[in-house]
């Protein structure tokens, strides 16, 4: 039977419409993401035209990368150190909370999840400002430590510097940590929700105690939530600007502050581009290590 022109048109339309729907979004992603990202590569190999503008000229100069690594290597190292510490401590706090919400929350579970999310609906700059009140020299946290006679001990541990909390790594890590806590808790709760109760009942029927039910069932099945939390928490923390600026001093600046300064103050666009690409390469490496061949699709992203 010869295909009618109408049927042919229908087939053509069926091939055509998915691309029509994709077109505007793809235009956005290609024009405003992929293209500008690739544009950083020639920029990083250029030299500034003058000291007073962002204009550059392409010279194929690879030495910029070496200079950037030499000058800002310690800051990169520090940034990932702060971010990783915040994520590690955050996970120690987030895991028990997620477990409590999933297995002890009962009918309050949705409300508890809402309570975890609520603080992140206020501006994170205002929260950083609030931390400066709490951690300041005349603030309640230092007063509490003094009344408990713990100041000297905390100084010795390196948590305080000269009896101060502001402008120390402790303050910056605390800020990063509280920012990312909801993003660590939510994927864990989602991952634990996928654990079928019958699995735990089966384990109990086989005389597995609470501890073995945890180590043999809950822990392995919640690992994807851990991976998703690390991605959602670590990446923004490594590139944060606000917490090191508000809670840290000049010695606690992180890599994003440096890029910001290079680009907007020093007008060193090629160096800023090179440092950005190095940061991106390191983050991509961290992501790949975390995913280890699994796709993003399997992760419980909220």
């Amino acid at each position: 039977m010869p295909a009618s022109p109408r049927a042919e048109a229908a087939v053509r339309a069926r091939r055509f419409w998915p691309w029509l729907l994709l077109a505007p979004g793809l235009l956005w992603l290609l024009g405003l993401y992929l293209l500008p990202l690739l544009g950083l590569v020639p920029l990083s190999l250029s030299e500034p035209l003058s000291r007073f503008g962002l204009e550059t000229v392409f010279r194929g100069r690879l030495a910029t990368y070496l200079e950037v690594l030499q000058a800002y290597g310690p800051i990169l190292w520090r940034s990932f150190g702060y971010a990783a510490s915040a994520t590690a401590i955050g996970l120690l706090l987030a895991y028990p909370l997620a477990f409590a919400i999933r297995f002890r929350g009962g009918r309050w579970q949705p409300l508890l999840i809402g309570l975890v999310v609520l603080p992140s609906l206020t501006s994170y700059l205002v929260r950083a400002i609030a931390w400066t009140s709490l951690l300041g020299d005349n603030g309640p946290v230092l007063a509490l430590l003094q009344s408990l006679d713990l100041t000297a001990a905390f100084n010795g541990l390196g948590l305080l510097r000269d009896g101060r909390l502001l402008n120390t790594p402790t303050a910056v890590i605390l800020g990063l940590l509280t920012n990312q806590l909801p993003f660590l808790v939510l994927p864990l709760v989602l991952a634990m929700e996928r654990i079928q109760p019958c699995l735990l009942e089966a384990a109990a029927d086989l005389h597995a105690g609470a501890w073995r039910r945890f180590t043999q069932v809950v822990w392995p099945l919640s690992r994807p939530g851990l991976a998703a939390g690390i991605l959602l928490g670590l990446i923004p923390a490594a590139g944060d600007v606000v917490n090191p600026l508000f809670l840290g001093g000049p010695n606690e600046r992180m890599v994003a502050n440096t890029i910001d300064n290079l680009l907007l103050v020093q007008l060193q666009a090629p160096r800023a581009a090179a440092l950005t690409l190095v940061l991106m390469a390191l983050v991509t490496l961290a992501v790949l290590l975390q995913l280890r061949g699994r796709g993003l699709d399997g992760l419980p992203l909220p």
Partner: protein, 274 residues
Amino acid sequence: MNRIGNVLLAASSALTFALLYAPVAVTVLFSFNAPRGRFNLLWQGFTLANWRHPLGDPALTEAFLTSLALALAAALLAVLLGGLMALSLARARLRGRRVIGLLVALPLTNPEIVLATALLNLFVGIDLPRGPLTLLLSHSLFCLSYAALTLKARLAGFDPSLEQAAQDLGAPPLEAFARVTLPLLAPGLLAAGLLSFSLSFDDFVISSFMAGETVTLPLYLAGAFQREISPQVQVLTTLVLLVSAALLLLATLSGMPTLRKAVDLPRRDPFGRP
């Protein structure tokens, strides 16, 4: 043993909630502070005066309204573009679907500063002055990935036979979409929109590169930290918090029965009673 575990669990959960809510509580408290000097950072004494003029700081109010408009526009644009992408990716068997899916997810793996640097270089290169337009373009871009992924996940859970049934009953494809798929997708659209809105409303890093002369709320707050923090900052934040809390409570209460069914909560505690 079980009892000690429960106590530890409760204590650690309480500590986590305390850390989450310490800055929020301080902000609400300081909206009732009568500060001496320009910075409302040190507790002096209780007053209701700040609440009599919640919009008493004109620069703050203007920045707040700018952020509101920007976040609304960026969220609408992101949900529209992301929704269309999600429909196409979830429904059509396209060649290159995996590559496109990767391209959609990729921006989420970059720290914001990467996107900010790249976009600034682009806009300097094509000589587009920084201002409301560049803000909208950049905000809609980073919201797009979240919106598209959220909606794609929602659509993947749908039964396409519902739409086919409508078509079998004689509804044209567009009508079947409008009367079957769209109502089912509405909660997802709302969720994606709210997520995009809050991402855009709170964005600092990308905005600081893209704003030009425009002052959004986070940019105003960063400036205020150097200059002057009026108590209206805390008042306005408290108001935003109250509205968010009300919306969240509403969503939670209305969603509770469906959510319980969706996640199939255990009827008895599998840890307490073996």
